[in-house]
Symmetry: C2
Subunit: 404 residues, 2 copies
C-alpha cells in the first residue's frame, strides 16, 4: 500500500487538528511530510518537528515525494492560488476553505477535469457531518426535494444562548467570541456568509447547479432586537439562521439564507449551541436528519482525514448531477412568507408585498407579515440592512405548499 | 452511458417500491427487464407489464442482457441461493435481505472477491439512512468508538405507543400489525432479531469484524410488563430496544442488543414511532446522529436506487477495515449494568452478578439492578426467557466509563 505523503498548508486550529489526527490514525498509512506556514517564528500549541516547517509554498508544490496537499489556511485568496497551482501540477488537494470553494467552484471543477486530478472538500460544509459525500453519492437527484439546515455553529451558539439561556444578544456574542466560536470580526458568521458559502457548495452536489454567492438572498442576525425575540417566544418558536435550497417545481429551484421562526415540531428546532443539523427531504424517504459538530479543530480534522482516506481509493467527486439533461433552474421569482420588523424605515411603503397578512404598530416597533418574492427582497437588500430592520421567514409557507 | 438492465427478484412491498422508484428516476438510465416471482397468478397493487413477469429464476440468471440483479424476496434461504448463483456468474447484486446477509457475510465477501463482482446492501440496515456506506467510506476505524441505535421500526413504534400515548403493550402491538409495521408473526421484530442482523452488518463496516448472530446477546421486548413501564416513567426515561457495538479498549469491543432505559438527554430518546436513529461516536467528532425512516416500501426502494446508481461507477464495498492489522477483538467478557425484573424465577440466586446495587421486592414483582458480564447473561439466556422476567440495560454504566 503506497504511503500518502502530505504537504500541509496552514498550522492554525484546523491544521494542528489535522496533524494530531493523522499522527493518531495508525491504519491511514499517511504522514505529514512538510508544513507551510506564513510565519516560522510563531509559537504554536501543538508540537511538531521543526524540520517539517517551511515558509515557502514551493517546498511543497515542487516536492516530488508529496502526493497529496491538505490546505487549511484562513485566507481565501492565498488558498485559491495554492489550490490552482497544485491542481495544475496534477497533485490532488483536500481543502476546507468554503469561501474559496464557493467563489471558484466552476473553475476548480474544470481544473480537476483538465489535469485529471481531484479536489475534495467535505470538511468545508458542516465539519464532521458527511453532507457533501452523501449528497454526491447517495441522494439521487430525481428524488431530492430540499436540503435545509443550520450550517454555522457560531451564530447558532449565539441564538441558543439567547433562546435557551435568556442571555441578551450582545452578551451571547461576547461569550461566543470568548469561547473562540466567533471570530474577532464576527460578520462572516453573523451576517450569514459562512452559511451561504456552504449552501452554494451543497447545492452543486444536491442539484448539480452552481449559483454564484452574490445571486443568493442572504440575511444574518446582526440586527435582531429584543422585540423579535419576544415575538418568537410568544409564538413558542425559536429564531434560527437557516440555509435552504428547495425544488419548487420539477423545473425550478430556489435558495436563500435568512433567519427563520422554527417551531418545536421541526428537527432543526433542537439543534442547539455550536451544533449543525441538516435535513434532506426526498420524494421517497421523506425527511432525513443529520446532526453533529459542524466546526472545531478535531471534528474538522476528522472530516479531512476521511477525504485523505478516500484518496487512497482514488475517490473524486464526479459532479454527475451537473451532467443531467433536466437539471432544475435557479429562480428567485418565488414568493416567501416573511416577518419584517421595522421602526423608522417605511417597510410596508417600500417593499412590494404580494399580500400583507398581518401588521402590528406600536410606539416601540412595528412589524408586518406578508408574502413577497425573493427577487424583490434581493432588490431591496440595502433597505433591509438598516439598523432598525430585521427579517425572518415563516416556514408555514413551504409547509402549505408541501400539502398541496 | 450504458443502460442498467435489472433483473428483479420479488414483487412484494419493497419490490413494488423499487419498480415505482426506478420508473420515476429519469436520470438513472436503468430499467427493470424481468421480474421473478413465486406465484404468477397473485394480484398486486402496482401495475407492471405482464410480459416482465416470470416464475423461473433462470430467466433472469441466464439472461445475458441483465447486468444487475436486485433481490428483495422475503425468504432468506431462497435469497441466499439466488445471490450465490448470481455472484458466481459475475453478476452484481443489490439486496435488502438482512437475515441472509448477516448469516452468510463471510462467504458472500469471499464470493465477491473470487468472482470479481459486487454485492451492495445499504438497504438492509436502516432503510433510507445511509449507515453502511458512511461507515465504510467516511468513518475511519481508528477514530470510531461506538455505533448505537434504534434499528427496528416496528418494535420502536410499539414502545412509542406505550410511552408517548399510554397504550397497553398488547394494544400497541395490534395497532402496529394493523398498520403493517409488524409481521403477523412479529417475533423477528419484537425479539430483536431484525435489529441484531443489522447490527452484525454494521459491525463489519464499522470495525472490520464479522461476529456470528448466535454469538451476540439478544433480548427483545416481548416480556415487558406494566411494572417495567411504571418504573421507567417514574425515572423519567423511556424504554427503547437498542443495538450497540462499542470499543471498550483499543484491543477489544463488545456488542449486544437489549432494551435500554434511555434518558431525555440522549439523541435516541426522541426517535419515536417507526423511525430509526443511529448515533456514531468517534474520538474526534464526539457524537453524530443520523435519523430517518428505516423501513417501508419507498424509503427502502430509494436506498436500493442509491445502490443501483453506485454500480454505475463500479462502486463496491472494499471491506478495507477487515484487512487492518490491529482490528479489535470481539469480547463478551465485559460488564454491563442491568435492571432485571422477575417474579417466581430466582434471578438474584442464579445470575452471577459481580455487584448488586439495588434490590426491590414487592408482592407484585421484584427487580434487581446490578453489574454482570455479558458472557454470563448469554450463558443464562434461557432463564431470562421466562415469561416473568424482563431485562434492560442502564446506559449510565458506559457513560461512567466514558468519563474515566
Amino acid at each position: 500500500m503506497e504511503q500518502i505523503n502530505i504537504g500541509l498548508f496552514g498550522f492554525g486550529t484546523v491544521g494542528q487538528g489535522v496533524y494530531k489526527v493523522i499522527d493518531n490514525a495508525k491504519n491511514a498509512h499517511a504522514v505529514i511530510s512538510r508544513i507551510a506556514v506564513r510565519n516560522l517564528a510563531k509559537t504554536r500549541d501543538t508540537a511538531a518537528p521543526q524540520e517539517l516547517f517551511t515558509d515557502k509554498a514551493t517546498d511543497i508544490l515542487d516536492n516530488p515525494e508529496i502526493n497529496l496537499i491538505v490546505e487549511v489556511i484562513d485566507d481565501p485568496e492565498a488558498s485559491y492560488e495554492i489550490v490552482k497551482q497544485a491542481l495544475r501540477k496534477g497533485i490532488p488537494v483536500v481543502s476546507g476553505n468554503k469561501a474559496m470553494i464557493a467563489r471558484h467552484l466552476p473553475e476548480l471543477i474544470e481544473l480537476q477535469r483538465q489535469y485529471d486530478t481531484a479536489l475534495l472538500y467535505d470538511a468545508s460544509s458542516c465539519g464532521s457531518i458527511p453532507v457533501i459525500r452523501n449528497l454526491e453519492e447517495y441522494y439521487d437527484n430525481d428524488l431530492l426535494l430540499e436540503v435545509k439546515g443550520i450550517l454555522n455553529g457560531s451564530s447558532n451558539y449565539i441564538l441558543s444562548r439567547v433562546f435557551d439561556h435568556n442571555q441578551p444578544y450582545a452578551e451571547a456574542l461576547r461569550k461566543a467570541q470568548e469561547l473562540g466560536f466567533a471570530e474577532s470580526d464576527p460578520s462572516f458568521d453573523i451576517e450569514g456568509y459562512d452559511s451561504l458559502f456552504k449552501l452554494i457548495i451543497i447545492t452543486v452536489h444536491a442539484l448539480g447547479v452552481y449559483v454564484a454567492p452574490s445571486d443568493v438572498f442572504t440575511y444574518g442576525i446582526s440586527t435582531i432586537h429584543e422585540s423579535d425575540i419576544r415575538y418568537a417566544r410568544e409564538k413558542g418558536v425559536k429564531i434560527k439562521l437557516v440555509a435552504q435550497v428547495v425544488k419548487v417545481s420539477d423545473e425550478k429551484f430556489t435558495m436563500f439564507l435568512m433567519p427563520e421562526f422554527v417551531p418545536p415540531s421541526r428537527y432543526i428546532y433542537s439543534v442547539d449551541d455550536e451544533y449543525n443539523g441538516v435535513v434532506i427531504r426526498g420524494e421517497c424517504y421523506d425527511r432525513q436528519f443529520m446532526f453533529g459538530k459542524g466546526a472545531g479543530s478535531l471534528p474538522t480534522a476528522s472530516s479531512i482525514l476521511s477525504d485523505i482516506m478516500a484518496r487512497r481509493h482514488d475517490y473524486r467527486y464526479e459532479y454527475k448531477k451537473m451532467r443531467y439533461v433536466d437539471r432544475p433552474e435557479y429562480s428567485t421569482d418565488v414568493p416567501v412568507r416573511v416577518y419584517v420588523r421595522y421602526c423608522e424605515t417605511d417597510i410596508p411603503g417600500i417593499l412590494p408585498f404580494a399580500e400583507i397578512r398581518e401588521q402590528y404598530l406600536s410606539a416601540e416597533s412595528n412589524y408586518v407579515i406578508g408574502d413577497i418574492k425573493l427577487c424583490d427582497l434581493k432588490r431591496h437588500r440595502d433597505l433591509l440592512s438598516a439598523p432598525d430592520v430585521f427579517i425572518a421567514s415563516l416556514p408555514t409557507f413551504f409547509v402549505e405548499r408541501d400539502n398541496q
